[in-house]
């Protein structure tokens, strides 16, 4: 059953399956139709499901999310594409003040099953606004759920689950992993959407990451093993809610935690994880939780991104430091 496919293709297949299964599912965004999206994630969908269900929208992100809310109020389940991370901000007001809050505002009467897909993160040598990781700016907002798959199988299943969710889900797609292939079993029993997964067991230090940084952490763990260090790698998969139970279980074992993400460290996911895990595991921790992430600076031009982004060496440097306590 299982088939090896690229992450982008897995999302495509997942969208296709959802469009087939439920006539209320819509796909909408800039260039998602004929072009199939700038990353071809929606390739072929308009051809097969028509312009009525796979909708090329005007170039206006607030309009896209705002009309998706209206469509959801009418009983549709829109899957919205924001073309790149840096272009979600015109829609920020609709996401934060409307999409996130309408369920509560209506005392539960209204549900907004809207998925917002955002290709995010760097590493593809792009120009400004095409490489950012804004997840923390959404995680702080109650009413939203935030997930990010790290591999094709998760991408496939998590998209299914996000579309089925009656809550708004921001689906961050690790764009530099779009072309990475892995096995997708369309018949498997899916793993819970908001649960972290241990992707490599270890005993000395826990590395926690999501989306594009999981692979970096796995590579770091392999490299560390050669130096005799056993790193556990936790793929968090969900940023809101965060699976603190899995984090806690791992840290109680390893007693050391390094959190890795592309987003700037300052006010990033690592801060929340460090604060809460320190509270939960105060007597277990041998060292402070360390964070590896972007700097407090605009995402730099492409020729500097390698220095800006957390890579294997920076992760191993943090491992060294966390073990030095």
């Amino acid at each position: 059953m299982a088939e090896k496919m690229a992450l982008a293709k897995a999302i495509n297949e997942s969208l296709r399956k959802a469009l087939e299964a439920d006539p209320k599912v819509l796909v909408m965004g800039e260039d998602v139709g004929k072009l199939g999206g700038v990353f071809r994630v929606t390739d072929g969908l308009q051809k097969d499901f028509g312009e009525d269900r796979v909708i090329d929208t005007p170039l206006a992100e607030s309009g896209i999310v705002g009309t998706a809310i209206g469509l959801a109020l009418r009983g549709y389940r829109p899957v919205v594409e924001i073309q790149f991370d840096g272009f979600v901000f015109p829609a920020y007001d609709q996401i934060v003040t409307q999409l996130a809050k309408m369920h509560a505002r209506s005392l539960g009467k209204v549900k907004l099953p809207v998925v917002i897909r955002i290709p995010y993160g760097g590493g593809i040598g792009a120009v400004e606004h095409h490489s950012e990781s804004p997840e923390a700016l959404f995680a702080h907002v109650a009413g939203l759920k935030i997930v990010s798959p790290s591999n094709a199988s998760d991408a496939y299943w998590m998209m299914q689950q996000a579309i089925q969710s009656d809550d708004p889900v921001i689906f961050f797609e690790p764009k530099r992993r779009y072309w990475d292939k892995s096995e997708v079993d369309a018949e498997a029993i899916p793993y819970p959407l908001h649960k972290a997964r241990v992707v490599r067991e270890g005993t000395d230090v826990t590395l926690a990451a999501y989306g594009p940084m999981v692979k970096v952490c796995q590579e770091a763990a392999v490299a560390a093993q050669e130096e005799g260090r056993s790193l556990e790698v936790l793929d968090l998969r969900s940023v809101s809610p965060l699976d603190f139970d899995s984090l806690q279980a791992s840290v109680e074992k390893t007693r050391r935690l390094v959190v890795v993400h592309e987003a700037p460290v300052f006010f990033g996911s690592g801060a929340e994880i460090a604060a809460r895990i320190t509270e939960r595991c105060f007597y277990h921790l041998e060292a402070p939780v360390l964070r590896v992430g972007g700097y407090h600076a605009p995402y730099p031009p492409a020729r500097l991104e390698e220095e800006y982004l957390p890579g294997l060496d920076r992760v191993l440097d943090a491992v060294d430091r966390v073990l030095a306590y």
């Binding site: 705002g66 209206g70 009983g75 369920h103």
Partner: protein, 396 residues
């Protein structure tokens, strides 16, 4: 009121256009015209005289005396409710109230043009429309009392929740209308917004989406001349109804204090929507007789004579004059309505006073439809924290 003093102060940059190179003779460019009163659709004069209108008369042709009395009753009861809410705020029963005083005709006229299946997206001031939809007036008071942020089921009466973030509901209405079109349903959608709201990017985007998808939506702008302290001149230098044209759909200005005209024009616009002719912008030219909200002090920014001048155009007085002149209503009707009005006031007053405070745990309810681990955790922590006081109190 000048367009902007910046321009007025610099002699080199006079506001408005100079004669010479511009003008409507230029066939290759569109030049805006200033609006005049003749742009206004009116069926009832301020004095209550029925004036013929070849284009819109047909939308109110068969209207019966009973229906006319109904419109009158709607306006009177809405105003009564509104006044009650204002005094409830003064008495401390509400934290805030946004009065619709003066806008009854715009709201009742448009509200009564709707079918049950149509869907309404209001701002925070559409108490008259809510009334037409059958939403219990006391439900409107929950958010102003601070017990909830929206106290009714939007799908119960096809009347969405009040929306405070200016302009955002116009996009929801457009999306909803896109869905209506997809469903092939025979209904329309109406989005209310204000003159101030017309400046928000969201409103322009909703015009674009509605036009491109030919969505069955009516954009109903109540131009009540003010956005808090700012006159309409701070939002536009041409009449607002003209905004629609450049997006590819018609706009019309209606006398917003004339309930018949508002009814007729809205029916026309809804008919367009139902016929697949897409969106329409209706600008109801009206006046906010009171303060922006009970927190506002309009004496700081507008002269009382403006309000006095508009009082002469009162929407209720003019329909009353018409009803009397045409013998469509007698004193008995007005007396009965007066009594009904008082009863409504009493009922609302009592209902508000009886409205219980929400349970503390409501904070954690409905944050998510499918739950969220952190909310559960925080609710549990909150419960333990609350319980700790109970213990202390119990212990003492």
């Amino acid at each position: 009121m000048t367009v902007e003093s910046t321009a007025a102060r610099k002699p080199r940059r006079s506001a408005g256009s100079k004669a010479g190179t511009t003008g409507s003779k230029r066939t290759t460019s569109t030049t805006p015209k200033k609006g005049s009163d003749t742009d206004l659709v009116q069926l009832l004069t301020p004095e209550g005289e029925r004036v013929a209108n070849p284009e819109y008369d047909r939308y109110v042709e068969g209207i019966t005396p009973e229906q006319l009395r109904g419109l009158y009753r709607d306006m009177v009861l809405t105003r009564r409710f509104d006044a009650e809410a204002t005094s409830l705020q003064r008495q401390g029963e509400l934290g805030l109230w946004a009065s619709l005083l003066g806008q009854e005709a715009a709201q009742i006229g448009s509200g009564r043009a709707l079918n049950d299946e149509d869907y309404v997206f209001p701002t925070y001031r559409e108490h008259g429309v809510a009334w037409c939809r059958g939403v219990d007036p006391t439900n409107l008071l929950g958010m102003f009392r601070g017990v909830n942020n929206g106290g009714w089921d939007p799908n119960g009466n096809n009347f969405h929740l009040y929306t405070i973030v200016i302009g955002s509901q116009t996009l929801h209405a457009t999306g909803y209308a896109m869905g209506v079109a997809k469903d092939g349903a025979d209904s329309a959608v109406i989005a209310y917004f204000g003159d101030g709201a017309s400046s928000q990017g969201d409103v322009a985007e909703s015009f674009t989406f509605a036009a491109v998808y030919n969505a069955p939506v009516v954009f109903f702008c109540q131009n009540n001349q003010w956005a808090i302290s700012e006159p309409t001149e701070k939002q536009t230098r041409v009449p607002l109804y003209q905004r629609a044209q450049g997006f590819g759909f018609p706009g019309v200005r209606v006398d917003g204090n004339d309930v018949l005209a508002c009814l007729a024009v809205t029916k026309w616009a809804l008919e367009r929507a139902r016929n697949g002719e897409g969106p329409t912008l209706v600008e109801a030219f009206t006046y906010r007789m009171g303060a922006h909200t009970t927190s506002d002090d309009p004496t700081r920014y507008r002269h009382d004579d403006e309000r006095v001048a508009w009082e002469a155009k009162d929407p209720i007085a003019r329909l009353r004059a018409y009803l009397l002149a045409t013998d469509h209503a007698d004193e008995g009707f007005f007396a009965e309505l007066e009594a009904e009005s008082e009863a409504l006031g009493r009922r609302v007053r009592e209902a508000v006073r009886a409205m219980p405070d929400p349970d503390h745990f409501a904070i954690f309810e409905n944050v998510y439809a499918d739950g969220h681990g952190l909310v559960d955790e925080e609710r549990a922590g909150f419960a333990a924290y609350q319980a700790s006081f109970a213990d202390v109190e119990g212990g003492n």
